[in-house]
């Protein structure tokens, strides 16, 4: 067990240090996220849509697309100088490599969120009303879901020719089911859908904050475990 944590930390620290030194992806992610938010704000004004309704959707769209950049980086950097062979030759379980890469992606998305979430709050004039803890929890759950799929798929496509485009197709398709409860959870938190209204009228099946969060937890557990188990097959030579 100790060995697991040591090797996990070694890979995790290596990736974080390379990213901090090269500053390759994080700035791009943040700028892309800000651009998405900014464009969506203008679009929502032009279409005279409610900012309270648009805010949560924009948050997830920004996370999804910027997350793709972080995930693509996970294994494209390993390909230079054939680092991936060295990593696979090291006496570590492939599952450990997966968990380490997943953690790096989660941390990168968290840093990204620290910048983009305040921006969304300012431009879309959202107010959370003291539910900060729940809000962070929902974001983290979404974060784990996005990263778990993205990290596996990033390893899957490392040798293909059209890497970026392929990754976005695969990740967006598989993550689509998660987006509905993720957006509902934020709508409940922001009070756009009051908890009393849930389950009545056209929201008859919309569930509540609890069911949405439950779904997110289930999604994260199912796909993190599946990806962790399948990762060995993906990198096997």
């Amino acid at each position: 067990m100790n060995y697991f944590f040591e090797s996990l930390w070694a890979i995790f620290a290596k990736d974080i240090v390379t990213e901090l030194r090269s500053k390759q992806v994080l700035p791009t992610m943040i700028v892309l996220g800000m651009l998405i938010v900014w464009v969506m704000r203008i679009v929502s004004e032009a279409a005279s849509l409610s900012t309270m309704m648009m805010g949560p959707a924009v948050l997830w769209i920004a996370f999804l697309f910027s997350g793709l950049l972080a995930q693509e980086r996970s294994f494209s950097t390993e390909e230079q100088e054939d680092c991936i062979s060295g990593l696979l030759l090291a006496p570590v379980d492939p599952g450990t490599i997966y968990i380490a890469k997943l953690l790096v992606n989660i941390v990168m998305l968290c840093v990204f969120e620290a910048v983009v979430v305040p921006m969304v709050f300012l431009t879309f004039e959202l107010s959370i009303g003291g539910k900060w803890f729940e809000f962070m929890g929902v974001l983290l759950l979404g974060n784990i879901g996005i990263s778990s799929i993205g990290t596996l798929f990033s390893a899957m496509i490392q040798l293909s020719r059209v890497r970026g485009a392929l990754l976005s197709i695969l990740v967006l398709v598989v993550l689509m089911p998660m987006m509905i409860p993720a957006i509902f959870a934020l709508l409940f938190l922001f009070g756009v859908i009051p908890e009393e209204v849930a389950g009545t009228g056209f929201l008859a099946l919309a569930g509540s904050l609890k069911t949405s969060v439950g779904y997110l937890v289930a999604f994260d557990v199912v796909f993190t475990v599946a990806c962790w188990l399948l990762f060995g097959f993906v990198v096997q030579e």
Binding site: L152, M156, I157, S160, V174, P181, S212, F233, V234
Partner: protein
Amino acid sequence: MRRLLILLTLVLLVGSTWMAFTLGEVVAVENNITVEKNIVYVHVPNAICASLCFVVLLVAGIGYLWTNKPMWDYIGAASAEVGFVFATVLNATGSIFARPFWQTWWTPSPRLISSAVLWFLCVAYLILRTSIQNPQRRARICAVFGIIAFLDVPMLFLSARVMQDMHIANVKFESAWQGAAFGLSTVSILLLALLLVWLKVDILKNKARLESELTY
């Protein structure tokens, strides 16, 4: 053997189509309005086939990762392609019938979202397949994606349920003959799917054989 299956499928397809056209309208109650829904003879069997293709994709994926036999890879690839065909027909027929009955081509309703994502999953699988050159690696990666895609389907059904539903839950058959026609069309379309998978597996097998002979 295969010729027999082709003949049987053809006979059943023609027979069930003839029954569907002659047995009168299938009635469904939707939002307290009774509408005719003969689409059920094509649409529902297609949905069953498209979903079954994902089960085959899972089995083939696990089979390949377990045994490393290329045959499993061919079965997986064939079922994804057949699933793509059936999901296309499913979405197209649904869309054509949605327009006169719901005044819209597409709406984010649970079953519509699910069938659209099924289609996208098949497309993603096929694109992924064309982008990897090495056959062993391609087989492995596609097996992994097939398993993930199968896991995505129940999650999809669960999450799509929170959307407002326009789709009718079930239809009522006027006579036992209509039920029989429905059963017959389901069987014939399942046989068609089986036949297509079989043909595609053969094509892939021969293609792989030719490629390996050319490299020597």
